[in-house]
Amino acid sequence: MSDLTLTPAPALGGYRERFEGVQLEELPNLAIVSIATPRGGEAEFAAAIEKAFGVAAPKPGHSSLSKDGRTRLVGMAPDQTFAVFTHDGPDARQVIDGALDGAGYTTDQTDVWVSLRIDGPRAHTALERICPIDLHPDAFPEGRAARTVMEHLGTIVLRDGADSFLLLSAHSSAESFLHAVETSIRNVT
């Protein structure tokens, strides 16, 4: 064994920038774990989620915040839920495994994505330039989530506040994605 150690590096180096009416930041400590519902194990899965998080598993396109407010569960597909929570370290999957006790198949998705939060009164206006889906609060209220494509890049968008959106896109194209979002902001501010 050598004395070599590995240090984690955020995809965008911990990017954080303020614009007029918009703030954009990378969330390097946002852990994402996908949970698949075993076929035939739906009831056990629902009970385990309820027990672990104090809320029901959300339907696709919706999300719910755990009772302790620390984990957001996002419905991605009929048999797929993302658990999104702040966590430092590469063992996010174990955290969820421990909470669910085998009621779902988990996969660590933290490093698959780059996470950006865009918030502020002009956030929606900026997103109009790249987001094809309707983010009007009536159509996309707080807690709603959707998969879409922004500037050719697959993106998950989640409204986590009145003027705040969480954007997840592929880790490998993080720099292109940031450029797309930044350009949208600069074009409207």
């Binding site: 590995l6 048999d79 698959v112 094809p132 074009n187």
Partner: protein, 1006 residues
């Protein structure tokens, strides 16, 4: 009226507004009132002459205010042309705007908003605008009639390319491009609404108010910079106030509503499927500079309902020399006077076949402009008393006089009347364009002699106001309100109670009158493309009678204005020729865009390096530091090789990387390979069904190569799948097929075998994965892998896999797999550690002289080892072709199994993948060469196969290749020719095993 030579500059623009002491330039045609700010002067430059206008002016209104009538030359005959309309339908007044790289040709002066410092120039002349050398074309007009291209340049044939084409190209076109890259930026965007209202005239404002008050989400888009449409151009009253005041009040109410988005300077240019509309917003065109913001935004509007309130376009009447500067549409003349406080002439005559045209005479007269005549071909009572004007009922204008601008009109009854402006109205054509973008056909309405929208409208779209043939103001207001109410009610909104806007129902009666037959001079139909009545008649005479033929033969309606003022007139004349009715004659197809959209706007941000996103590997920035040369593989940028000082040719770098890897150890970033996390009780069965070979018995901690077929039996992709746990597998795919394979697997899971408990999720980006290859790979990894994990050959043999930790506890995955044929591993860490990991691996490997290698060395080693890759897996290759026919397990079913049994795919003389080496070892092989028997002529009949991949093998010291050849596996040692007719080479090659290096696979297992 002045007709000063406009090429004589009075002062430069810089002088005029540079010092802030702008000299006042007289505007001879400026009236009082209107919707311009008389208190502020804006300096602008037209053809080097500095002029002044006011905020609220368009370039056209400002030019008219200054008495400039000659603004351009026509397309074909280079006839002098002036401003013809007051809107986006303008065929004549095309100018070049701005200077340098910002120069934009073919801009309609009627839509250009005036700003201080605007620079514009006329276009399409040789010499000067006033004395255009190409005006000689006009003298030869009898040779340049419709279809002259098709007739004139036929002989001699040899002249076409060298003489005729350059000549035509040189004369054709209107404005000039700057020839420089466009320095402006453009953007796109997406908007959503319940109701889109297109056009903010009386119908549109009324519709938007009704929909907005009901609480619906409304977008109101208008191409003008001032909403109101004809309300701003008329003297008619709404609710007891001027139309313009009412419009202003309506706009203020709409602006105060949160649920209404008012978009001015925005043209809805097309209707697409499912209620989607395209719109172009001109964000900074009205400003001196864009200030770094996008100049224009191309919007995609998602709507539930849309109300088209696009108004109507006035049409001219054709008569001799009706294209002379000063001849204008009557509604435009009135608009200039009422909205822009400009009279286009000092002595105005009116020629109209309808009541609306009379309002031009009345309005101008009321503003103190001298109206010299009103000529109306109808044999009825005059519609108004116009003081001082000669009223000629039952007469027509047969010709005009004046060289570069109108001086007199000639009457059909004989005699002339002085006029420097002739306001012409032949009636109004509803703007049906958008209703026809999905192949709807407009219908003819006899009472207004015009086409109105048909019944077959795009889904969700209704039409209101003048666009629907409701030509009076009262009708338009009511129509807009009604259509909007219907739209919001159908969406479940409750229309608010309010008093509808009231206006007088002004007279709009008309008797169709298309062209004046008297007179010998040419009468223009399409001003922009120089199509005359005679051309239409010629088309008829020569058999081009269908409207689509008429259009192509004469170019009627094919210019940048798409014939907005010309088309109906043209087909009315054709109808006259054929003796058919106008509705029988029909219209040409309307297609988007409604008015020109710059290509730059369609491109949006997708320019240069922003054309598409890039995917970067976790070691990318490290590789950049090493001076790597990158290659695009799909969206990925991968290191192709890592040149070292002194290496001048890529082969030197690649050969070294191969030799050092095979000699000791090399590292390659293989993160780009697709990774699919597969979990579930039935995951093994699932893999058994998607791969041709068996996976049911793969033990935990083992990896297996797998080949998957498409349903048609052809090879789709290959890779390895590792079993990490009882119900947990990780599949790798090729880089190129990662997305496609994942989609295929999801299809299998969701549609073919929904009962299986199997779950998929991509983890491609989640893991930084490095191939560590070469005899010292284990020694290197021992310095990285934490000591509690035994990676000795016995504990971790070939094809083993494990979840481990590295560098003191960082989670990792280790696979003992080899693409290079060496003792090799692939090691993966969460992507966030990828950069740190490559540095750690290189540091650990220093004592072994470790080398990073790129995709080229990777390719050389896989060819040396005989592994198929993208060059071989073309989609037309079967497992049998790859020599893997026996891998298709017949003990189980799998995708592609049945169809791979087709006789054609199992021919005894089928293609087999084998290796090739040149008989003369000094020769280089080329991929794409075809295999031909010795002594045979290279032809399709003698073709036996082709070379797919070639490389120089540093290990063997000569060129090697992989390829497909008939019966290949039975022909070891045979000599054939590799013939490359494109590269002009013909080399004798020997058929050999594809496994050039270590055919027994001993190196893998040590």
């Amino acid at each position: 009226m002045t007709d000063k030579p406009i090429n004589a500059p009075t002062a430069t623009l810089r002088e005029a507004h540079g010092g802030g002491s702008a000299t006042y330039v007289e505007q001879p045609n400026r009236l009082a009132g209107g919707l311009v700010d008389h208190g502020r002067a804006l300096n602008f430059d037209f053809d080097g002459r500095v002029l002044q206008g006011h905020p609220g002016d368009t370039l056209a209104s400002a030019l008219l205010a200054n008495g400039v009538r000659l603004v351009g030359r026509s397309f074909k005959y280079h006839r002098p042309r002036g401003i013809f309309t007051a809107g986006s339908e303008e065929p004549n007044a095309l100018v070049e705007l701005r200077r340098g790289a910002h120069q934009e040709p073919n801009t309609r002066a009627t839509t250009v908003e005036l700003f201080d410092g605007l620079e514009a120039g006329s276009q399409n002349y040789r010499g000067s605008l006033g004395f255009d050398l190409l005006a000689a074309n006009d003298l030869f007009s009898s040779f340049l009639s419709a279809g002259f291209y098709y007739k004139t340049f036929m002989w001699p044939q040899a002249f076409w390319e060298k003489v005729y084409e350059p000549l035509i190209r040189n004369s054709a076109g209107l404005g000039r491009l700057s020839g420089e890259p466009d320095p402006d930026s453009y953007d796109k965007g997406f908007l959503h609404c319940d109701v889109l209202v297109i056009g903010a005239g009386p119908a549109g404002l009324s519709a938007a108010l009704a929909a907005g008050r009901a609480g619906a989400r409304v977008i109101l888009a208008d191409e003008d910079f001032r909403p109101g449409g004809r309300l701003n151009a008329e003297t008619l009253e709404v609710d007891g106030m001027s139309g313009a005041d009412w419009a202003e009040r309506a706009v203020a109410e709409l602006a105060a509503m949160d649920n209404v988005r008012l978009m001015t300077r925005t043209t809805v240019h097309g209707v697409f499927d499912h209620g989607i509309f395209g719109a172009l917003e001109r964000c900074t065109d009205h400003l001196p500079t864009s200030g770094g913001k996008p100049r224009q935004v191309l919007w995609r509007l998602y709507t539930k309902r849309a109300v088209l309130c696009a108004g109507a376009t006035e049409r001219p009447i054709a008569f001799g020399d009706n294209d002379r500067p000063g001849v204008m549409l009557a509604g435009a003349v009135r608009a200039y006077a009422n909205r822009w406080a400009v009279t286009p002439g000092q002595r105005v005559a009116v020629f109209t076949n309808n009541d609306d045209g009379w309002r031009t005479a009345a309005d101008l007269s009321a503003r103190g402009v001298e109206v010299t005549a009103v000529v109306d071909p109808r044999n009825t009572q005059p519609r108004a008393e116009i003081p001082g004007a000669a009223i000629r009922m039952g007469d027509a204008v047969a010709g005009t006089r004046g060289r570069k601008g109108l001086k007199q009109i000639e009457l059909a009854s004989g005699g002339t009347i002085p006029a420097d402006c002739l306001a012409v109205s032949g009636g109004w054509n509803p703007n049906v364009h958008l209703t026809c973008h999905q192949r709807g056909r407009p219908e003819w309405r006899e009472d207004i002699a015009a086409f109105v929208p048909g019944k077959d409208l795009p889904v969700g779209l209704t039409v209101a106001g003048a666009a629907n043939g409701s030509l009076s103001l009262a009708a338009a207001l009511l129509d807009g309100e009604t259509r909007a109410r219907e739209a919001v009610e159908s969406l479940g909104f409750k229309p608010a109670k309010h008093t509808p806007a009231k206006a007088e129902d002004e007279a709009v009666e008309l008797t169709p009158f298309w062209h004046v037959k008297k007179g010998r001079a040419r009468a223009w139909v399409d001003h922009q493309n120089d199509v005359t009545v005679k051309d239409v008649k010629l088309a008829h005479q020569e058999g081009f009678r269908a409207v689509e033929h008429l259009k192509r033969y004469t170019t009627l309606g094919m210019a940048t204005d798409q014939g907005k003022t010309a088309n109906v007139l043209g087909l009315a004349i054709m109808a006259e020729c054929t003796g058919k009715s106008i509705p029988e004659t029909g219209t040409t197809i309307f297609r988007p865009p409604y008015s020109p959209v710059p290509i730059g706007a369609f491109a949006g941000r997708s320019r240069g390096k922003d054309f598409r996103p890039f995917r970067l590997t976790p070691s990318h920035h490290w590789a950049e530091e090493q001076g790597a040369v990158f290659v695009e593989t799909g969206a990925w940028l991968r290191a192709q090789w890592f040149p070292r000082p002194g290496e001048t040719h890529w082969r030197q770098s690649v050969d070294r990387e191969v030799e050092m890897t095979r000699g000791s150890v090399g590292i390659c970033d293989v993160t780009t390979l697709g990774k699919v996390d597969i979990q579930g009780r039935d995951a093994a069965e699932f893999l058994n069904k998607v791969y041709i070979n068996g996976f049911a018995k793969l033990a935990v901690g083992k990896t297996r190569y797998g080949l998957m077929l498409r349903e048609d039996g052809m090879a789709m992709d290959d890779g390895t799948t590792a079993r990490l746990g009882e119900t947990h597998y990780v599949m790798t795919t090729t880089t190129a097929n990662a997305g496609g394979v994942f989609r295929h697997l999801e299809f299998c899971r969701q549609c073919l075998w929904p009962d299986l408990d199997v779950h998929l999720i991509s983890t491609t980006d989640g893991w930084a994965q490095y191939a560590v290859a070469g005899p010292n790979s284990r020694n290197l990894l021992r310095k990285i892998v934490d000591p509690e994990f035994d990676i000795s050959n016995e504990a971790f043999p070939f094809m083993a896999c494990a979840e481990i930790t590295v560098c003191g506890g960082t989670p990792a995955r280790l696979f003992r797999i080899s693409f290079s044929g060496e003792l090799a591993y692939e090691i993966a860490v969460p992507a966030r550690y990828g950069d740190s990991m490559i540095r750690a691996l290189m540091a650990a490997g220093e004592e072994f002289d470790v080398v990073p290698y790129g995709t080229e060395a990777l390719g050389v080693m896989r060819i040396e080892k005989g592994h198929a890759a993208g060059n071989e897996l073309t989609g037309q290759i079967s497992a049998q072709n790859l020599g893997m026919g026996r891998m298709v397990s017949k003990k189980k079913d799998c995708i592609g199994n049945k169809l791979s049994e087709r006789p054609e795919m199992n021919r005894e003389d089928g293609l087999r993948m084998v290796g090739f080496r040149p008989v003369d070892r000094s020769r280089s092989l080329t991929a794409g060469a075809h295999f031909i028997p010795r002594g045979a002529v290279a032809s399709m009949e003698t073709d036996e196969g082709w070379m797919t991949s070639v490389a120089y093998s540093p290990e063997l010291g000569h060129s090697i290749g992989l390829g497909f050849i008939k019966r290949g596996s039975e022909r070891m040692g045979d000599i054939v020719r590799a013939v490359d007719l494109v590269g002009d080479s013909d080399i004798e090659v020997e058929i050999v095993s594809p496994h050039f290096v270590d055919p027994e696979g001993e190196r893998l297992r040590v």
